[in-house]
Point group: C2
Chain length 263, copies 2
């Protein structure tokens, strides 16, 4: 079997269980380099750190065994995209590129419009910008210690496909897993990014000195009744896979505007 070189990151940070599960899974496919945020970076989208300096720390290093690839784990004090850039930088310094980027396993859904704000998906987009086959994995549970059995089972099926056939250049995959026991998951479906948005987004409070401040909160408003919207598939017990694109141009709108706007 070919040993793959796999870069792993996440947005919940180095100490989250999800990234450890991802690293353990991917060691069954090859050598794993984890470059993950030192602190939680949820909701960081594709942000990069332009105002502050960044530190890299090697946290752990394990050799390959007969059954598992090698593992090296770095903490990096930046965003998920910063972590991908640093991971790729490490590979480039070794005269090579990763075969695959895995971002996650995220604790919480990245379906529908959550994919816009998601650091998990920001990291996967960055991998695709480098032309690395890239995949974001998210379990729809905010339990810090959830049951990953279904995620691991179905991730293997998806990884086998992905590593066999690849995906088109400039595409990255957003995979979301329902928070269900393995036997209750109905299967895998290709999906589109569901249409929706958040409402009631601020919790206004008063601090001990009498000044107002805000927490961002919100409730998801489902604006998509299509069966193959990712969040609807997940609600119905399926694993959803949405292919996302780095090139975010709407080519149809170019043609439409060319007809009605004349400069």
């Amino acid at each position: 079997m070919k040993l793959f070189e796999i870069l792993v990151t996440n947005d919940d940070g180095l100490n989250a269980r999800g990234v450890k599960e991802a690293a353990a899974l991917m060691r069954t496919y090859g050598n794993v380099t984890v470059v993950a945020p030192s602190e939680p970076q949820s909701g960081k989208s594709a942000a990069i750190s332009l105002e502050n300096t960044l530190r890299l720390n090697l946290v752990e290093s394990l050799s390959a065994s007969e059954e598992l690839g090698s593992l090296r784990i770095y903490g990096f004090t930046g965003t998920p995209v910063d972590c991908v850039k640093m991971g790729v930088n490490l590979f480039i310094g070794e005269g090579r590129m990763p075969d695959l980027l895995v971002s996650g396993i995220n604790h919480g859904s990245n379906a529908s419009v959550a994919s816009v704000y998601s650091g998990t998906l920001g990291a996967a987009a960055e991998g695709a910008i480098y032309a690395i086959p890239s995949i974001g994995l998210s379990l729809c549970s905010h339990n810090p210690d959830p049951d990953f059995t279904g995620v691991i089972h179905y991730s293997r099926i998806i990884m086998d496909k992905l590593l066999e056939t690849g995906i088109s250049r400039g595409i990255y995959l957003n995979v979301n897993f329902p928070n269900l026991p393995l036997e209750e998951i109905k299967g895998i479906k290709l999906a589109h990014q569901g249409h929706g948005r958040w409402i009631r987004e601020f919790d206004k409070r008063t601090d001990p000195r009498g000044r107002e401040y805000y927490w961002i909160i919100g409730r998801f408003l489902n604006l998509d009744d299509a069966q193959d919207a990712d969040h609807n598939l997940i609600d119905n017990g399926y694993v959803s896979i949405v292919p996302h694109r780095v090139d975010n141009t709407d080519y149809q709108e170019i043609e439409r505007l060319r007809d009605i706007w004349s400069f």
Copy 2:
């Protein structure tokens, strides 16, 4: 003439010249509410603040005159997307929604893959999620005090079209202006998000205590020789307009994967 209700934000922060230029321009179209980051937020993409609390401060308030709409300026301690959420929250509290969201005028290019990392574009995406016609404006100069004459001239032409015809739901516009005197700008062109990426992305330094740290840097690598790639149009003296989409699904890749992957 109809007076429009316009929400303005940016990612360079409340004190940048660009957002003041945008507010002044938009007051000729209607009443302007600025909710801009208290501190610079370049490169923040569509990040939202989940780990920290946020403060809102009213900075300035001017009544409408015969020729200009009213102006109210708020500083908000979050990201550009946080600012849009708060701006929309203010409007919702008043029982209405903005007619238009303007993000910018950014100091620096947001063409090609810069649009992925851009806080200016993250804010415009957020406007589109709320179904508000939304536009990001960026001048390809990092001079903090550049010549905005060409930007203002061509922004008026684009705003007139946008407010007359609207854009399709779920679309937002990424407009980039070349850093040229007005008379040297050749015109406006619809464009696609140019293909490219950054290389040599880290400046590694040693701190006074002998420990290594990094700054993110990089040089743009142009991977697109199409004439209608946005960064190429700008280099050739044109104002570029790219329609971006909130729904980032690649529907062709769904069909391709459906054929080759069977679950």
